[in-house]
Symmetry: D2
């Protein structure tokens, strides 16, 4: 287990705010991705293998692993944003290290550098029963403050 | 329309090989992504908006756009590989430029640099009725030759 | 020669502003990098091989190629920013495609997506006498408006 | 101080091999970058601020920080390669987190995933007297075995 970052959230109600926004992502429901744990500046997501999201070798498609990594980065960043912020992904980079051939996955993200406008996060996907990383992401998230865009 | 690259395929039967591998990706069926056109070193994919793949603002989730971009890069690269090769994604980087709020998407990829082991590709996602790019990807693909891994 | 993008600059004096900022980069002088041509949303830089910037195989070090690509992206973006803006690099990604073993290099950048806060650019390095790309970059640049930071 | 990875080197003489290759990089001498510490799968580099490598705000140019990060990634990877291997950078991605305005820098890299052909590394640049990260890199390195290319 990696060390958790120690950030002070700007919004004391960050936990509820993150879960509400996450629940509003239809894609997370479809992928079967759920929050297993979260704190200020970090989050753990989990999901089960689903045959309908495999690529040609029977592994989970890199895009689905990316979707989980991206959501993890987004909500790790979002947890440190102010109450009136929406979060958008600016960019991310994924390195695929090993085949995604597990039965269940744990995707953990943490904030590397919070910022008023831009936040940089890192995330790792691995089998939920431990083992070596399957994929790592570095991503940049943007806070839209009082933009009228829903969280 | 961007210019198509002009590569000579090593496998004259590349078109059939690409389509067969693409059809073996359950994730592409689930996302509703299909091949609209392909040639040596390039491919066009298309897919419709589906509510089940949206994020919290109602746009298509970045992970799904990435899945399409990644598959496009992978098959653009695969089209130039030898008959006995399998293709794996090494890494990719996505910049999200505009909200994915179209009804139908066109995702075009082309090989920037083919190689015996590594191939670099670029891909762009946009609304299928034209307009500005929604997201761009640069990715590195790896050929596994006679690996026993299915194409 | 790639097509040039067609942007309308917000600052009619962008050419002078870009050149003044570029001249203030000591690193560009040290690397021998100079502007050969520029317009709204694009720039061409050139530099000669220097033995003092080689890696262990005698090629130009990837960091120096990156410095040129990064400056090219930065100034392509800066040309579209307002008069009171400073430009900072948020992130970039480089794919190294071929050895940097030329006598002289041409590094061309163009804006893919301009923005009030963030601008995305692409750049390519190649031998100045033509030939295939040596390296490609995608980068994100940020405008700091009225920040007190010098341009 | 981050935990060091625990890898078993394939070449017991890796320390000498890494230092010999590093010394052959003219660019490292020019940038004043030297090895402060190394082990199997990790390396620490250090260098002093030099005015000749600044950008327009007086900070060290991102390209020079990248050169140090890239070399760190390259030699962390190289330390785990076989005796008859040369190392080439395939690609890297840098996020610039804070201004490079220190007097001396510490750049630390470690292998995330070693491989026979491809190795993935992460690196961090910070002020040598501690403090928060200035830049982080994720990079992919390639082993060329018995290629005739010097190490």
């Amino acid at each position: 287990m990696m060390d958790r970052p120690t950030f002070t959230p700007l919004d004391p109600d960050y936990d509820h705010r993150v879960r509400a926004s996450f629940d509003a992502q239809a894609a997370m429901h479809t992928f079967g991705i759920s929050i297993s744990s979260l704190g200020p500046g970090w989050i753990d997501l989990e999901f089960d293998h689903q045959d309908q999201f495999t690529q040609q070798h029977g592994f989970i498609h890199a895009g689905v692993v990316s979707a989980a990594l991206d959501s993890a980065c987004g909500y790790a960043a979002f947890s440190l944003m102010t109450e009136n912020s929406a979060v958008l992904t600016v960019e991310y980079k994924v390195n695929l290290l090993r085949p995604a051939n597990a039965q269940r996955y744990l995707v953990s993200a943490e904030v590397v550098k919070p910022g008023r406008t831009l936040t940089v996060c890192r995330a790792t996907a691995r089998s939920a029963d431990g083992g070596e990383p399957i994929a790592v992401m570095t991503g940049t998230l943007m806070a839209l403050v009082d933009s009228g865009i829903q969280h």
